[in-house]
Symmetry: C2
Subunit: 450 residues, 2 copies
């Protein structure tokens, strides 16, 4: 039976889930608190560039959109590490040809909105902010930001795709019993800076890599854009010896950038303007349970599981949510929304929790370990095992390139790998002893545990 | 300097903290969403009886109120266990004369309000519900429930003593950056029942004990009231084999009560009426950080740290909050509210976390272990060590009878004790081997770790 469905939020996930719902013939009203970003360029400064990987492509493919999006994406084949001494090294993400794809949040969002607009049964309402939802009835109050009028909506279903600060989730938190909820901030914040194109409109650094300046307790990263620029993000603690709280004057900021990012600074002539113009933003993890209220309300994407950006999986996880929801609608039928949403919450929640933890762990890996000889040795060991045993998938490969393995399964595998890789790395001259019974027996144990 | 302070919530903690503030000369307006319970008897059914212990008395003593409250309290010297086979046993809480004190939530709250009313600089506004606070300015919106009018308040400081569902905390959650918050529900809920006085107005069971019917995954408890009745609370999972979800008809309820609480049932003639009249309430744990916003807003009591009721420490912890806050006002001065509140949050938060965990752990102890021979052996060992070493304080004694030891310290001690007590309990015939070197050496280790 065709339903009236209000989707709150026309961000990445809201746009994609609307398309999935429209394909099934439902009547979708999509409410977005901002203006149409396709008409009024929305200022940047809060939009970490995104890295699309195989889970995200799977989410897009279910709606036939993977090619449309690949057109606006730049492949990054590995991490380009910028060391303190000015030297660089390259760490491939996967096998030959495997990459993650840099996309601008605005660019992919506008493309998804255009695709949504092609469905006659999707109507996008800009400048309409969801204020609250009554979970028992799915009645919703939506504020028309332009007129100040509150629109009373009476859809059959509300989908909350309204992001980390979701008003829909907030209604579940405050209006239903036994809703578990947590928001946790990490000690670091971030600030966006820019490396513009060179005088000829070309890239100032290697285009097909994700650049990292790992500095133990903080880091700078840079992702390429189609116009030749790089979007840079500085992740730094709010408080402490080296922190945002110590960087207030232009002199302090310049001295900091020169000390830690000497090779990047000459490429970012506008760093002081960017510093002052862009906010210092916080980073939080949101967990909740359940993700639905009966057949009336369902959360998806960041609204259900906001995570830190360090595994590049926020958007990918959200796109995967969409295709999993679609598969449940397919298998359970369109008349059984309580079952669809209950199953969606039950199936996806452990994966949301797993990717939240993976993302936290990866912050430490990126900022601290990518410059660490022990870590590099472990990577070398892992890579040799992968090469000699093509069926072995590293944690990174499972998360990034293996959508058929769930985040929760990948997380478990990562815990197992840690154990064996640490054991191998603790053997002196392990690479030279590779074919000894000692080393081979540990590798056999690792492989047989898969 | 004297301040205008709005205290939200005239529950136990709001009333007591108002008295502390009034004693220091501040102008206190106390807003309470309910009617004056002294004039209009508020229905029971959601008020687990409370057990006042030494930390609570310390909190009252700082304001000179301990004797006024002791008058309306009934000492309970131990747990009276009602086994499945109808037999009973008694487990003392502490040494000769040590007790926790049963008080009715309504009774103690009314007494505290009366005491607050004696201060000319405390004004209580009933039927005034705090809607929201602006943390930056301490401006507050308070809804007059009778007239429907919203009162705009502009105090210097807002104290949120507004309980587990605190609107003040909610304003911190939604209007400040980097506020950590979680609400977690446990799988069990509760329902209040009553054992009325006997025909002569006397108690139907031993008056000076906390009665427990431990039934592994659930339990019934009963606390004495001044009028000869007992307030009973059934704690039971919401879902599962034996759960509230399976108890819908009178037949199902009666069969359940007869099977598990055969000795209690004859004393509760109105159990079916109570069952239907009283709600099945959920139990949640609330954690947040920080507890204040600068010198403008501070949370206290359940608003900062709602816990499950199984250690009988919710009110005690809240009363202790009040005296700790008072001590900080004394030591840091009345002009330094940012420091007072920052220190209050920093000092109390670890204790709030510790008591939350202790309360969760104690649910398992009460419902499951109080009937378990291994647990009873451990208790026997612990009690003999206490007797032979008067300076040794068990975890229970530290939490309940030792306000000079913080909850966090007590929790740590409990973890240490667990280790040694388990070791001792695993020795066969340990009580007979008490004076052997094996046993005595473990006891020495336990004592020297204190």
């Amino acid at each position: 039976m065709k339903k009236q469905i209000d989707v709150m939020g026309s961000g990445l996930i809201g746009s994609l889930v609307s398309i999935y719902l429209a394909k099934r013939g439902h009547e979708v009203n999509l409410f977005e608190r901002r203006v149409d970003m396709r008409k009024n360029r929305i200022s940047a400064g809060r939009s970490i560039n995104l890295a699309l990987s195989d889970r995200g492509f799977r989410g897009l493919a279910g709606a036939g959109l993977q090619d449309a999006i690949r057109e606006i994406a730049i492949p990054m084949y590995g991490r380009q590490i910028h060391h303190m001494d000015g030297s660089q090294s390259f760490q491939p993400y996967g096998k030959e040809g495997q990459a993650i794809y840099s996309v601008s949040r605005g660019g992919i969002n506008m493309r998804l909105m255009e695709l949504a607009d092609q469905y006659p049964n999707i109507k996008i309402h800009f400048e309409h902010r969801c204020v609250e939802v009554d979970p028992k009835s799915a009645k919703a109050k939506v504020l028309n930001e332009a007129s100040g009028e509150v629109v009373e909506r009476t859809p059959d279903i509300v989908i909350g795709a309204d992001g980390a600060f979701s008003p829909v989730r907030h209604s579940l938190q405050t209006k239903t019993d036994r809703f578990d909820y947590s928001q946790t901030y990490i000690e670091s914040g971030y600030k966006e800076l820019v490396i513009p194109p060179d005088a000829n409109g070309g890239f100032q650094m290697e285009k097909t890599a994700l650049h990292i300046w790992p500095r133990k307790s903080f880091m700078l990263i840079a992702l390429p854009n189609l116009d030749g620029s790089f979007t840079c993000t500085l992740f730094l603690p709010f408080e402490g010896e080296v922190s945002f709280s110590k960087l207030n004057t232009d002199q302090e900021i310049t001295a900091f950038m020169q000390e830690y990012f000497a090779d990047a600074l000459p490429m970012m002539p506008g760093y002081l303007e960017d510093w002052h113009a862009n906010p210092t933003s916080s980073l939080s993890i949101v967990r909740c349970n359940p993700w639905n209220y009966k057949d009336k309300v369902c959360l998806i994407g960041d609204a259900a599981h906001a995570i830190v950006p360090f595994y590049g999986q926020g958007m990918n996880c959200g796109f995967e949510d969409c295709v999993v929801l679609d598969e449940l609608m397919e298998s359970l039928g369109d008349d059984n929304w309580t079952e669809v949403f209950n199953n969606f919450s039950r199936l996806r929640k452990p994966n949301g929790d797993a990717v939240a933890q993976l993302a936290l762990d990866n912050f430490i890996e990126m900022r601290d370990k990518t410059g660490d000889p022990k870590f590099l040795l472990r990577k070398q060991i892992e890579s040799r095992i992968s090469k000699e045993n093509p069926s072995f998938l590293s944690l990174y490969a499972q998360v990034t390139f293996s959508p058929h393995i769930s985040y929760a399964q990948a997380y478990q595998a990562g815990q197992r790998h840690d154990h064996y890789l640490n054991e191998l790395a603790s053997i002196e001259q392990v690479m030279d002893k590779w074919n000894t019974p000692e080393v081979q027996s540990i590798i056999r144990d690792l492989l047989s545990a898969e």
